[in-house]
């Protein structure tokens, strides 16, 4: 079992595309399910280290420890779900290419133990994200993609700068090696490096001050793509950002700054969504809000809070995917994503899915989102961060306001269109909600996984070199 499979298999599938160009949707499903299975089989062999060595230190190192394994499993799961969702819509070459590449990108991002590799996967995932944005091939899509590219190119400039500065200072790129030697760098240069990395990853991880492009991009792309962005892309960047943060032993004041940025992200996003009427923008803002909470929680560098944040990443990814996929169904039917469409259709099952996923998103019991939120709150409380608790609770009300405004589609009324939802989609969405419900009712196994992951994330560089 090699970690390279997670990168090589999708690439292989891309190279062999001409062989099965009529059945890309099936191949996509098979590929993602295979990857999911592979990820699940890794459970017992963690942590895993894989080197493709030219000569030390010139080696490409992949590391799979508890935290990255959790995310990898999540990513492959979400990719599988999304590809299963698209199964019904037949062959789509552009989608296949872009989403498979995205898979490669995000898997590589979390697996890489080498800063330059991270840069490469950063670019791969970015390019695939640009492609995904432009999938619809209309003015909005291209406009969004262009915006995205401008911002993304800017981010990669800074990331590149940071990497170059590191290499210039200490001559290594392996994360573990960097962590060991980072302290040798002159403090001012250290700060410059950290700042460049922060700008580079912060833009992509959608943190406040750097995230004003997000709503437009989500709006430009398809709803189903939104689920990939929201569940995979931003989370992988966020993971790398915090992985580096923990490894490089940043100062408490810098951690505090990250927490502040997280809180600001949360507040600004939730308030922005309050008045929005475009459902994709609303979901984008909601994603930003969750990222804000996750950032806030991770910034405490506390085992319990980090576990809670990982839990939130997981539950948010599943809930958001369900919501975006449901929205995709609506968008395909109405050719609009204005929030009024929620009041215009009649499909009890779909409404139920939206409602329950929304509840989980809000952190309302008995769904898994609640467990995450409760863990975050209790974690914050045990650190005596009562201000943060109050902030999260207060702003959650704003979140509830706009989410429940969407849910008023539950009201009976005239002028409703009956919306047909295929059985396969019902199964898929139902599975996601059941997943949320199941982990909400029995959170212990997942919590334990998250705790283990948090321990390995915070434990610093435990991979022997």
């Amino acid at each position: 079992m090699s970690l390279l499979y997670f990168v090589l298999l999708p690439l292989l599938a891309l190279f062999l595309m001409p062989l099965y160009r009529k059945h890309l949707h099936i191949i996509s499903v098979m590929l993602n399910l295979t990857l999911l299975t592979l990820a699940l089989t890794c459970t017992h062999t963690l942590p895993m280290v894989e080197r493709v060595a030219v000569d030390l230190p010139f080696a490409i190192t992949f590391v799979l420890e508890r935290a990255s394994w959790l995310l990898l499993t999540l990513f492959t799961l979400i990719m599988s779900l999304v590809s299963l969702y698209h199964l019904r819509y037949g062959n789509d070459k552009a989608l296949f290419v872009a989403s498979t590449m995205l898979g490669v990108g995000v898997s590589g991002l979390i697996l890489s133990h080498d800063l330059f590799n991270i840069y490469i996967f950063f670019e791969i995932s970015s390019i695939s994200a640009y492609l995904l944005t432009a999938l619809n091939q209309d003015v909005k899509a291209y406009g969004g993609a262009i915006r995205y590219m401008i911002v993304g190119a800017f981010a990669s400039l800074f990331l590149l700068l940071g990497i170059m500065l590191i290499y210039l200072s200490i001559g290594v790129l392996d994360i573990g090696a960097i962590a060991e030697r980072f302290g040798l760098i002159e403090p001012r240069l250290q700060f410059l490096i950290l700042l460049s990395l922060f700008i580079g990853f912060g833009i992509k991880a959608e943190l406040f001050g750097l995230n004003f492009w997000v709503a437009d991009i989500y709006q430009a792309s398809r709803s189903s793509v939104g689920s990939l962005f929201s569940a995979l892309l931003s989370k992988s960047y966020l993971f790398v950002l915090f992985h580096l943060t923990y490894l490089l032993h940043v100062s408490p004041s810098q951690l505090f700054f990250l927490g502040l940025i997280g809180a600001l992200t949360f507040v600004a996003a939730e308030f922005s969504a309050f008045k929005s009427h475009e459902s994709k923008r609303i979901f984008a803002f909601s994603t930003l809000g969750q990222i804000g909470i996750i950032t806030l929680a991770l910034s405490y560098a506390d085992a319990m809070l980090s576990a809670a944040a990982l839990m939130l990443i997981l539950t948010h990814a599943v809930a958001k995917t369900a919501l975006f996929l449901a929205l995709d169904l609506l968008e395909r039917h109405f050719h609009s994503s204005h929030s009024t469409i929620f009041a215009r259709f009649h499909a009890p099952f779909l409404m139920g899915i939206i409602a329950l996923a929304g509840l989980s998103l809000l952190g309302i019991p008995p769904f898994a989102g609640f467990v995450a939120k409760l863990s975050i709150l209790t974690g914050l409380a045990s650190l005596e961060a009562y201000g943060a608790v109050a902030l999260i609770l207060l702003i959650s009300l704003i979140e509830a306001a706009y989410l429940f405004r969407l849910l008023t589609g539950f009201r009976q009324g005239t002028g409703k269109e009956r919306l047909y939802v295929a059985w396969s989609h019902k199964l898929l969405l139902g599975f996601m909600v059941l997943l949320l419900l199941g982990f909400g009712l029995m959170p212990e196994p997942l919590l334990q996984l998250c705790q283990a992951a948090a321990a390995s994330m915070l434990g610093g560089n435990h991979v022997p070199l």
Binding site: Q137, S156, L161, D216
Partner: protein
């Protein structure tokens, strides 16, 4: 600032200064130019500035190029210039070209659909669109 990088300190400082001037010019282009093509061109310039900065700072007049040929069977930092930056820059250039190509494709498509490629006239996204 970069004293640790060997003996060509002055050269390195000059290169660094130059690169940052170029980088600044490029950023100016990114932030001020309205034509999408110009903007992406500016990004290319910025990237080039970074490459130059990186490679330039690894240049050492007294060292050899890191090419393996007869008599030289392994990398020796004392004799050769560090080969890794070159590999990295090559990779990055490739990526940069790919991104630029994709960007220009999008710009062309966008131009065909809208008839303009000015960033200040892009108003297709936002609330109520």
């Amino acid at each position: 600032m970069f004293d640790a990088f060997g003996s060509s300190a002055l050269l390195h400082q000059a290169i660094t200064l130059l690169c940052f001037i170029i980088f600044g010019v490029a950023l100016f282009g990114v932030l001020v130019k309205k034509n999408l093509f110009n903007i992406f061109l500016a990004f290319s310039i910025a990237e080039a500035a970074l490459f130059l900065f990186f490679i330039g700072n690894h240049y050492a007049a007294q060292l050899q190029a890191p090419i393996l040929f007869e008599g030289l069977s392994r990398f020796d930092p004392a004799v050769m210039v560090d080969p890794l930056p070159q590999a990295m820059i090559l990779t990055t250039i490739v990526i940069g070209i790919a991104v630029l190509a994709l960007a220009l494709t999008f710009v062309i498509r966008y131009y065909k659909l809208t008839g303009h490629m000015r960033i200040d006239e892009m108003d297709e996204l936002g609330e109520d669109r």
